[in-house]
């Protein structure tokens, strides 16, 4: 069991990432707040609890690898990397600016700590498989994590990759689906229904864990179970809310898939995030 202090610290950190997300997207006047906010707790647990990595040695060979397959959620990853010390928090303001390393979608060559360039959806899981296969060939025991969107799972390549992971029994790989149930054009179930979602992954040979993607303790336990599962890959279907933490974004998720809040909305969002009292357990 993880102690309450650890959980509380992670909750605070996730809240901090959310504030960065709002500020950087507003400074850029463009970007994807909804899917960044929904992934904030998952990313927090990965970068500040689960993963072995070292901001001082971003190319350390034994580090765990993370692939952000939903490349439009770049802001949450940038926020985590800055908070972890890969670069200064100040630099987050340069998101999407000409000449900035913080590209609109993730570019592995421009920033330390990024394992793969993404933005064209559906490709990250395949790349993560490649990293997991390399780890096995090199007899290293690093773990590979890959975060996908639920809408992204409409891409055929996800399922090609899902077959690869289970065919090669990649138990050093954990996939996470940020299951926020929305995509640009509407609700995932209305646009192209994925259900029965967990059964699909099961049928593809995966160990499936469902959890609350905003409960730190649930996420930690899911990652622990995933790591302990041998002989097959694990997918964590993390039940999330698009725009999580900002009430008006949670209420109107489709308005904030790929649109920056206005100045007034920014203030409102930040004041909500600052007020959040982390619930005691």
């Amino acid at each position: 069991m993880v102690n309450k202090d650890t959980i509380f610290a992670l909750e605070k950190r996730a809240n901090q990432l959310r504030q960065h997300i709002i500020k950087m997207i507003c400074a850029a006047a463009s970007g994807h707040p909804g899917g960044s906010l929904s992934a904030a707790d998952i990313i927090t647990v990965l970068y500040f609890h689960q993963m072995q990595h070292d901001p001082k040695k971003p190319t350390w060979q034994d580090r765990d690898r993370f692939v952000m397959s939903k490349g439009h959620a770049a802001p949450v990853l940038y926020a985590a990397l800055a908070e972890a010390g890969y670069f200064s928090v100040e630099y987050l303001k340069t998101l999407r600016r000409l000449g900035s390393s913080l590209q609109g979608h993730i570019d592995m060559l421009s920033l330390p700590g990024i394992e793969m360039s993404t933005g064209s959806l559906g490709q990250g899981l395949s790349a993560a498989n490649g990293m997991a296969l390399a780890g096995r060939l090199d007899k290293k025991d690093y773990q590979v994590y890959c975060l996908m969107g639920d809408g992204e799972c409409q891409e055929g390549q996800i399922w090609e990759a899902a077959m690869t992971s289970s065919h090669y029994k990649l138990d050093n790989l954990t996939a996470i689906v940020d299951h926020n149930k929305h995509q640009i054009d509407g609700k995932v179930e209305d646009i192209k229904n994925l259900n029965p979602f967990g059964d699909k992954w099961k049928a593809f040979g995966w160990h499936v864990i469902s959890c609350n993607g905003h409960k730190i303790a649930d996420l930690i336990s899911a990652f622990e179970k995933a790591k302990a599962t041998k002989g097959k890959p694990t997918v964590i279907i993390a039940d999330t809310v698009k725009g999580k933490g900002v009430a008006f974004m949670e209420e109107r998720p489709l308005d904030f898939h790929g649109k920056a809040p206005t100045k007034d909305e920014e203030s409102a969002a930040l004041s909500q995030l600052c007020q959040i009292e982390v619930p005691k357990k």
């Binding site: 690898r65 692939v67 570019d107 592995m108 060559l109 394992e115 793969m116 360039s117 993404t118 933005g119 064209s120 559906g122 490709q123 990250g124 395949s126 790349a127 993560a128 498989n129 490649g130 990293m131 997991a132 296969l133 390399a134 780890g135 060939l137 090199d138 055929g156 390549q157 090609e160 990759a161 077959m163 690869t164 065919h167 090669y168």
Partner: protein
């Protein structure tokens, strides 16, 4: 000319095995065509480092990128239509944008794929691969050169597209070749015009040059295996010294070798130029030799193009 013929894909399979012995970081992926692309030869020798990804070219390229990001030299093979077309976005995003060490080595390039018909004849692959930043694009001329190209590919860091053929290719470099990425080779000196060719069209260009000598035309022949980065200096030199250019390739006249040469010519030294290649059309089923005739990839076509540019030169 020598009548000796070697299939470039056979040489690919053999060279991969040699490289695999020398370097444990070489990994090979295929998409259910390992018997045809000859990567199965490597798979037999090094089963742990060979991944048959099934019929999933997109997954294959992105997986290759993941392996490459961890220090592997990833050779990924399938037919040219699939490696360039089906997986274009994956090549662009995860091999080229990332500048990772992914070598896309495809076989069955061009119309000589033959009986399988238009769906399997890649006549546009060089154009669409050449348009991607960071990509190096190579069309080996014969089996001898293929061995050098594959070795160079393993030594060169970065993404590459290498296009091989299905059929046996006449040997041009009987006495060995000195292949360098980005460099063309003068195979025959001449003063009246220059034929710049790649792949199977190199041997035909040499034959055409022999025939044209009977018409008192003194033709220079250039082997241009690297389509990108193209050997700009050599093209300009040939344009200046011979005053006319013909290109010959087993590919559409749009965007391939002819396109690359034309771009250099118009921006640097305008001389009469003609392109021999497939003329903006799909192919069809047939024997390779029949298709070469029907789609204008013959010595006769090269000679006609040569006469045409010579007439414009005056």
């Amino acid at each position: 000319m020598s009548k000796k013929e070697i299939a470039t894909r056979d040489v690919y399979g053999q060279t991969l095995v040699e490289l695999g012995k020398e370097n444990s970081n070489i990994v090979v992926l295929d998409a259910d065509l390992a018997g045809s692309t000859k990567t199965a030869t490597f798979g037999k020798a090094f089963p742990d480092r060979f991944f048959d990804m099934g019929i999933a070219e997109q997954d294959m390229i992105s997986t290759a990128a993941g392996l490459a990001s961890c220090g592997k030299i990833a050779f990924a093979s399938t037919f040219a239509v699939f490696g360039s077309g089906r997986a274009w976005d994956q090549v662009r995003m995860m091999a080229a944008y990332t500048r990772l060490n992914v070598k896309i080595v495809v076989t069955h390039g061009g119309i000589t794929t033959g009986e399988d018909g238009a769906s399997h004849q890649a006549n546009e692959d060089i154009a669409i691969m050449r348009a991607i930043p960071n990509m190096t694009v190579i069309v080996p001329t014969d089996g001898i050169q293929t061995a050098s190209v594959i070795r160079e590919a393993a030594n060169f860091y970065g993404p590459m597209y290498i296009r091989l053929s299905r059929g046996k290719t006449p040997v041009v470099y009987e006495n060995g070749c000195n292949f360098k990425i980005g460099k063309g080779t003068i195979l025959k000196e001449g003063t009246d015009l220059t034929i710049i060719a790649c792949g199977i069209m190199v041997e035909k260009s040499l034959n055409a040059a022999e025939e044209l000598r009977k018409e008192n035309t003194n033709v220079r022949v250039i082997d241009m295996p690297t389509i990108k980065p193209i050997d700009k200096e050599l093209i300009i030199k040939c344009a200046e010294e011979t005053g006319a250019i013909v290109t010959a390739e087993e590919h559409s006249i749009i965007g391939g070798l002819g396109g690359a040469v034309a771009e250099v010519i118009v921006e640097n030294c305008v001389v009469p130029m003609a392109r021999v290649g497939v003329r903006d059309t799909f192919g069809e089923s047939g024997k390779p030799d029949e298709l070469l005739v029907k789609y204008g990839l013959t010595e006769t076509e090269i000679m006609a193009a040569a006469r045409h540019v010579l007439a414009r030169k005056k």
